[in-house]
Symmetry: C2
Subunit: 197 residues, 2 copies
Amino acid sequence: MATPPGLRERKKLQRRKLIEDTALELFAREGFDATTVETIAAACDIAPRTFFSYFATKDDLVLTDYADRLQRILDAFAARPADEPAWEALQRSFEAIAADYESEADSLRARFAIMATAPSVRARSLELQLGWEFALAERLAERADVADDTVARLLAGTALAIMRGALRQWLTSGTDSHPPELMRRGFSLAGNGFDHL
Amino acid sequence: MATPPGLRERKKLQRRKLIEDTALELFAREGFDATTVETIAAACDIAPRTFFSYFATKDDLVLTDYADRLQRILDAFAARPADEPAWEALQRSFEAIAADYESEADSLRARFAIMATAPSVRARSLELQLGWEFALAERLAERADVADDTVARLLAGTALAIMRGALRQWLTSGTDSHPPELMRRGFSLAGNGFDHL
DNA sequence: TGCATTCTTGCGGTCACTGCAATCTTTCAC
DNA sequence: GTGAAAGATTGCAGTGACCGCAAGAATGCA
């Protein structure tokens, strides 16, 4: 695990990354719709058919790190002490992943821009997030303080909404704000039941 | 406006409904993916090309009433007194549309079942809901007590999450629960900041 | 009845995505 | 080092959603 797990795997990962990078560049330059899978394949010197053994969907190119990020949220969540209130555990977990955002700012911005113009990507993104919601709700439901399945679902859904909001604001506003801060603010607002209203 | 607005329009609406009904029946019987647009068109005695002048997308067949429902939410929201707290206004508006659910139970159930199996439909549904969130956030931002745009967004996002949860629970659990009740429960939980946790 | 408007339809085409079977590469056992 | 097993790449042929266009049919109105 320390040293590479075989040349085969390494090549596969390398190539995957090459495809992704090439594609994102093309998307940025020519637009998402105007860039065909065939073009991407050609630019990577692979057969069009091969593309689909790396990515199931053209949309997925823009959303590669989603699975990773979910895993990071789940890990962070699992690492919280069991006696911590669920809401607080959620907040801390999301704050933790928000801290990673800043180092990926450019990539996120590029992907966000594509989502803004390509409905299918936006839709797929939301669907993946629904998967997150589900996974997170499952973990939440295991907590002692979250008896109900519906409550778990609602908690997860709210957390995700906060996350979307924070990410969105960070990416569209200037650079003066920081993701963890925005995330905290969202959790704080919702956690107080929007009580200033 | 009282009497039909011309035979042409009536026919168009009629036909639209025919296509929708036929399609939903086919989906239920054969499955969403297994039913091609061509099949639907044939069953309706129209040319395949004509289908697309009634529905932009095969997916949209399952989500026909989304635009209407959004309008109903917005209307209900606009009808709330201006001095009412935003959160309460939201709750009342969503409760109001939840009351309509029960009369459409069969249709909703059928559509929900399709969404459960067809990812593209689910994704499209979420994307439409994002549109709702946006529209609702705009209205919210006009309220005196919602100064911030981000707060408006967050409020709308939370409300939508509550709605999804309520709808989901109602459709998957037995018939012993009622949508407005579930909706109220969700709003109550979030409105209290999940304070029992 | 005749004309303008609007629908319907067929045609040809694009593009994402798939299953299959052949070919080539890497791995690994000997 | 060789050869066989396992895995990856590729081409081919096909499906199905969806689109632009232009011709033909239906409709509404004068």
